[in-house]
């Protein structure tokens, strides 16, 4: 233990001496949360919609009203020909167009299928996918309402009514969804970045022989290397959380000790990842590449930070189980947004714990081998 502390002290002074690295690790994350928290949102509201209504009756007006009332669409133009729609779409004036054909009501009333046409600009596939989903839901809803009116007369009560309730984030602000993800992402990156060079640097600079000969156990060495970065990571993580509370009204509905526990567990796993990378490679440049490959992309793409895991193909979903951020985000969102306790998150904590033990264990084994 004393030896571990000695390594920690040496590592700590090395961090402090490199002012820029320390400043970057401590303050830049909170600054970035501010920048990205404002910049990023998924709120697909007010999609610019052009409408060409060739029917002009109560049914078509009902359809239009449903598009507008959804708040997802703003009607910005009423073109009169397809070529005009095409021009507006190419020029980027509109992102979607709705064409209501003549005879829609007649078809509806004579047992036929009346096809409404919707055009969506697909140059951003992610936005287009969401607009696609909204469109489908709106038109189906209107179709059912019109059928109901025809079957039971205007004003008839539907046989089944829906009472939707949204928990935890009733206004569906995407900031509340994205900010916990950003916290996880920033913590992961700064931890991996700060440790992935630590051991390979000694090798590259030729100080590795000294480490090898030093009378210190491998475990003490790993613990000593990790401790200073653990505290730097913890301080930086809590600065981000406080910044998120102040700037974005992120509620912390659960308990702070539990939050501290979750963040600590995640940081240990992230630091272990960095250390493991550092023991596997023999140059700092390679450590950087591998570090990015195992931390940056999986944390952005496979963690549920931005993209829903349930929609991914099965093999990719299987890969996501080894991404620690996946568990951390469930725990973090659970604690800050849902205010839930330890029992509900036991699975996530267990997974995070197993991950941390495995990567630190592997890193120690690798190190022990390298030291001979």
């Amino acid at each position: 233990m004393r030896k571990a502390l000695a390594v920690a002290r040496k590592e700590f002074w090395q961090i402090v001496r490199d002012r820029r690295t320390l400043m970057i690790l401590l303050f830049v994350p909170a600054f970035f949360l501010m920048l990205y928290g404002y910049a990023l949102n998924f709120d697909i509201r007010h999609v610019r919609l052009a409408v060409m209504d060739r029917e002009h009756n109560t049914d078509s007006r009902e359809l239009l009203a449903s598009f507008v009332n959804s708040t997802y669409f703003d009607i910005v133009a009423t073109p009169t020909s397809m070529s005009e729609i095409e021009r507006m779409m190419n020029a980027g004036e509109i992102r979607a167009a709705l064409v209501i054909p003549e005879g829609m009501s007649r078809d509806l009333r004579s047992g036929r299928v009346a096809a409404v046409q919707v055009l969506i600009n697909g140059d951003n596939a992610n936005t287009a996918t969401t607009v696609f989903g909204y469109t489908l839901a709106i038109v189906r809803g209107v179709s059912a309402r019109l059928q109901l009116q025809l079957a039971g007369g205007r004003g008839a009560a539907p046989p089944i009514a829906v009472e939707p309730r949204i928990w935890y984030n009733p206004e569906l602000q995407s900031t509340l969804f994205l900010v916990p993800g950003l916290i996880g992402f920033i913590v992961m990156i700064s931890c991996v970045v700060s440790t992935s060079l630590s051991i390979v640097r000694e090798k590259e600079r030729g100080t590795w022989e000294q480490v090898r000969m030093a009378p210190i156990g491998t475990v003490s060495y790993v613990v000593g290397k990790t401790i200073p970065y653990f505290f730097v990571g913890l301080i930086s993580a809590f600065m981000i959380i406080v910044a998120a509370m102040v700037l974005f009204n992120l509620p912390v509905r659960g308990s702070w000790p539990l939050l501290l526990f979750a963040v600590s567990l995640f940081i240990v796993g992230a630091l272990g990842t960095g250390l493991l990378v550092s023991t596997l490679v023999d140059s700092q440049a390679l450590a950087f590449l591998v570090g990015l490959l195992v931390s940056l992309l999986p944390t952005v793409i496979l963690s549920g930070f931005i993209f829903p895991i349930a929609s991914m193909p099965v093999p990719i979903r299987a890969i996501s189980y080894v991404v620690p951020a996946r568990y951390f985000l469930v725990a973090l969102r659970g604690i800050v947004l849902k205010g839930i306790g330890f029992a509900m998150l036991a699975d996530q904590f267990l997974a995070l714990g197993v991950y941390a033990v495995v990567v630190l264990g592997l890193a120690s084994v690798r190190l022990a081998k390298e030291r001979g």
Binding site: Y38, R201, I301
Partner: protein
């Protein structure tokens, strides 16, 4: 020129001496493409749904069947205990819940209106919004079906509305088409800017930069010689990524390849210039890596339009995005790949990108003169 070639050869030898480097440089892009190509979709499908069926009648099972048959939902759990909803949603086993009240079947059979509840976990705002829309319209369809079935035999037939959705520029709405060309941009940035800067700083760290300085090499030869190998690797990566994108992901390549290639060289000018600049402001490889990751890579991922559309950003943030060369390159790459457009539609982006590259190169050269004399 001969001296320059010697230096380039030295760099390649150093890369070769590091045998693990090559596979990573060329395998990493493919892994990134695969992950981004398959996983990065905001599509909402298979939403895990918990159903509280307090009725347990054939009628309620029919409603549950409608959800089971829908590609948008995945019924994970049917229960009669409404406490399970809280538990499943809190622990994220389910993202949504459908609650069917006890008298549901009775009400439907006897023609009385009845209300079902749909709960969505708002902590995932995007999936919750889209999922609620699907659930509501699914139930509305069911309701309309019931109302129509109740009418006496011989009443006039009622049709339905259908929507034909056409997506322009990306008819199958594959997110690969959007994400994969973006990978090209990100990758070139990582390989050239970061590795280039680390390679220069490494010489500083090991003290060998001094030795190179006292050789008869001219300053520009030293710079070009250090960066050229990474430029070459970058060019190979361009070819590799385009090949994988077209052959494996079957992403349409509608524009001109020579144009893409030429503009990629300009983009490489930006990233190499950036690498040089980072190397002049860093004393150790760790600093170079931190500076590159936090000040260049992260803004590029989030503010360039790579994932999040720039037009969704607040007006204060939008001007910042003009400082990011990736922004221009993304417009160009996506334009050439997906829309098949040429210089006539993005000449402004190309010019701004060129200006950006020249500026950063000038800045880097000025700084490196100062630090080395």
């Amino acid at each position: 020129m001969r001296r320059l070639l010697f230096l380039v050869r030295k760099e390649f030898q150093e890369l070769r001496r590091n045998p693990r480097m090559f596979p990573v440089i060329f395998v990493a892009p493919v892994i990134q493409l695969a992950i981004l190509g398959y996983a990065a979709t905001t599509d909402v499908k298979n939403v895990p749904l918990v159903v509280v069926d307090a009725d347990r009648s054939p009628v309620s099972r029919e409603l549950i069947g409608a959800f089971e048959g829908s590609p948008y939902f995945n019924v994970v759990h049917v229960t009669s205990n409404d406490g399970d909803v809280q538990r499943d949603i809190e622990s994220r086993r389910a993202w949504m819940a459908l609650e069917i009240p006890p008298a549901y079947g009775d009400a439907i059979t006897n023609g009385r209106p009845v209300t079902v509840q749909v709960v969505a976990d708002g902590s995932d705002s995007n999936s919750a919004g889209v999922g609620l829309g699907y659930a509501t319209s699914l139930i509305a369809e069911k309701a309309a079906g019931i109302a129509m079935a109740r009418r006496p035999a011989g009443a006039p037939a009622i049709g339905s509305l259908d929507v034909r959705i056409r997506v322009w520029f990306n008819p199958q709405l594959l997110s690969q088409h959007f994400m994969v060309p973006g990978v090209l941009a990100l990758l070139l940035m990582v390989i050239t800017a970061v590795l280039g800067s680390m390679s220069i700083v490494r010489e500083k760290e090991l003290g060998t930069l001094e030795q190179l300085n006292v050789t008869p090499l001219k300053r520009w030869e030293l710079t070009v010689g250090k960066l050229l190998p990474f430029g070459v690797i970058g060019v190979i990566d361009v070819l590799l990524v385009v090949a994988v994108a077209v052959l494996w992901f079957q992403i349409p390549f509608r524009g001109s390849f020579p144009l893409l290639f030429g503009l990629s060289l300009i983009y490489l000018l930006c990233t190499l210039g950036l690498g040089l600049f980072v190397s002049t402001v860093s004393q150790s490889q760790q600093q170079a890596m931190m500076t590159a990751v936090f000040f260049f890579m992260l803004p590029m991922i989030y503010l360039s339009g790579f994932i999040f559309p720039i037009e969704n950003m607040p007006a204060v943030i939008q001007p910042i995005t003009y400082l990011i060369p990736l922004r221009y390159y993304l417009v160009i790459v996506r334009g050439i790949f997906l829309k098949g457009v040429g210089l006539e539609s993005f000449w402004k982006d190309a010019l701004l990108m060129l200006a950006w590259g020249l500026t950063v190169l000038a800045l880097a050269t000025m700084r490196s003169k100062k630090t080395l004399t």
